[in-house]
Symmetry: C2
Subunit: 168 residues, 2 copies
């Protein structure tokens, strides 16, 4: 397998992986393409490389920027905008963790809190069983939340401490 083939394979694999997660195929493919390209690409480059429309490119690049996985860069003398992906895979993982926590874990924890307040006769066995189930799920969710927060934080600290070294 040569370099071009390998790159294409990577883009395609990352794409179908993304699809299995909540991320859409094109968004994952654009991310893969940028991950594998050392230099910034323009919207036109991405369109040509992946054979997708301008609108599609624009939409998905914007979403990647929202997730913090891709950055706009300006190249002096060029009018177009260019894009690069965060290459440090640990950072990528923490950005994804942060985003998914926000979108998935936080909302369910909120609902679980409410469900614990379910009212009724305290001697009702069914009610008791329900509250127990919810309480267990709640404990699990809190534990998971703490773990993810710690993971995200560890990466942030790493970032700030190296920033500190840099400016000191």
């Amino acid at each position: 397998m040569n370099l071009a083939e390998a790159k294409a394979q990577f883009v395609q694999t990352w794409g179908s992986l993304g699809a299995q997660w909540g991320i859409n195929r094109t968004m994952a493919q654009i991310h893969a393409l940028l991950l594998v390209m050392p230099d910034p690409l323009s919207a036109d480059d991405i369109m040509a490389e992946l054979n997708i429309s301008r609108g599609n490119t624009n939409m998905n690049v914007r979403e990647l920027i929202n997730w913090g996985l891709v950055e706009r860069v300006l190249i002096p003398g060029e009018r177009k905008e260019f894009f690069v992906a965060e290459k440090d895979i640990w950072k990528v993982a923490t950005y994804i963790a942060r985003e998914r926590k926000k979108r998935e874990l936080d909302p369910i924890m909120k609902v679980l809190q409410q469900l614990q307040q379910a009212e009724g006769d305290p001697r009702d066995k069914e009610l008791k069983a329900f509250k127990d189930s919810i309480s267990n799920i709640n404990k699990f969710a809190s534990q998971t939340d703490k773990t993810i927060s710690a993971f995200i934080k560890s990466e942030e600290n790493w970032f700030y401490s190296s920033l500190l070294k840099l400016i000191k």
Copy 2:
């Protein structure tokens, strides 16, 4: 909020959460319903409770059984089949982890192995950059794989050790 409302809310929330993951909405709703019901339900119960068709019920229950999240139970004197969900949320988490590892992580690791073999002039800078990227992703994937395996294994051990206590 009374018990019935709380249950309905839980089923609905768990359902939309599942949809954000790879799991489909109905599958997650059936799971939630069984989680919250102390006694086994039949296919007809599920159909009535969630307003879905027989085919849909059958398909999604089967998938839940594949994942190990739900079990068929036979009730003496009844001709129908009944279903119960695993209620221990930690076990649920490990079953899901196991299934997702198998479907998502294992295949990508296989591809990454292959991509490291990409051929070409060893002095080519681009090739070198590509191999470096892949190598980093690979390291990350292995680390993740180990962590998940450890998690799955810890649960298995816990299971076997309590089984042992039980029969001893």
